[in-house]
Symmetry: C2
Subunit: 238 residues, 2 copies
Amino acid sequence: MNLHDLKSVCGNCTIRELCLPAGLSDEEVHLLDQHMDHRQVVPKGDYLYRVGDPFRSLFAVSSGFFKTVLLHEDGRGQITGFQMMGELLGLEAIHSDHHVCDAIALEDSAVCAISFDQFEQLGQIMVNLQHRFNKDLSREIVREHNVMMLLGSMRSEERLANFLIDLADRHAHRHQSSVEMTLRMTREDIGSYLGLKLETVSRLLSRFHDEGLLEVRGRRVKILDRNALALRRTETHN
Amino acid sequence: MNLHDLKSVCGNCTIRELCLPAGLSDEEVHLLDQHMDHRQVVPKGDYLYRVGDPFRSLFAVSSGFFKTVLLHEDGRGQITGFQMMGELLGLEAIHSDHHVCDAIALEDSAVCAISFDQFEQLGQIMVNLQHRFNKDLSREIVREHNVMMLLGSMRSEERLANFLIDLADRHAHRHQSSVEMTLRMTREDIGSYLGLKLETVSRLLSRFHDEGLLEVRGRRVKILDRNALALRRTETHN
DNA sequence: CGATTGGTTGAGCCCATTCAACGAATGTGG
DNA sequence: CCACATTCGTTGAATGGGCTCAACCAATCG
């Protein structure tokens, strides 16, 4: 079965409750389905969109893993987020009708594209959908607030502990193990997201490993002592 | 004339084009007015809302200046933004129906409150309003992306230069001088927002002053060489 | 008036960076 | 298949940018 350019159908999607249609009735989901665009495969390393691309669709991650990268004129880049299944990509583009960051697949992935024009029309006749979407946008704002807190007032160790716990929680929410995980991103990616250098990330992982909090073998990470790790998220972990 | 609990009227508001009704037709603004809530004065130092407060209304800054503060359990706080006239407060609360940060007036201010329930209903019958609101939410996401870039990959000098230029631009957009400004916030506030300590902010302002980029006298700041200052925003300002 | 808040400046320190060497894993072309 | 290049990760040593601690000043306020 070729997933390329297949019509998306939320109705029988396994991650329906993680994704945009969460909380909608069957009839509403059916209506949404009629306005869904295509399903699209994105091989590892490929761009889903780039800075400057015209904004036509939102994307819901159906499977796989993405990063979004904000490019600075002088070459520096900042990773603004990692997206897993059920999460939306492209929200930043609504404002200017153009994408303002790159979205790159970190493993073979698939997304459901939703024409934003049609989506807005649908929102006009479906109160629940519009309400859910407002909440999704607001949640993204809250998430970024928390990243600002992390970048603005935490030490390196706290940043990484927060990152790992957050990742574990998101896995758990998707009924995946929150103890053993494979990191989809490089040490440099983690560093970019956390405002650290890759060497610092590597050292911190080694430290957590030595202290018995984690078992780290390359990109395989096993959380051995979640409580202790959670304490490291704050300054006062005496 | 007492501004307290007066009905808001966008129709004849001087900052209409900076605010939520920007781009709407006269009829549409009239419709919006009928659903606007009250106008509210917030004296300097007062909280507009606090963490945990139930979310009922969005607020549009009518006059004055606010900061939003995210509190961490261990006492640390992070300023997530400064809001001037025409900008919206409370977007973060849509997700959980509760405010997740504090909003504090940095000078005597006034806001227009908009019941969010009524606002969502109005969005159902006014496509333009809903579209504008989606863009506002998206713009906030983009703004926070830029702060993440600033916090994650810029040196202290670049952070402050960016901050000052941004502030100047926002003043200009409101037809206020973008050369001479009075900072509404303390050095500590600036530091919190930029992920720096207050002493560092003070030293940087002195440095810019010594180098002839700025004239700094307390909270009065005059930009003497905007081009040179703008160059300091990036690493490669040879 | 003393008390408090906000701001400046100096001296020393420390955490994360920089620079560097090395190892492991993967892929590629002859 | 091996030789080689490339990417990714780890670890060490030295550096430095921003922090901490501290003293001091100015303005405001009760």
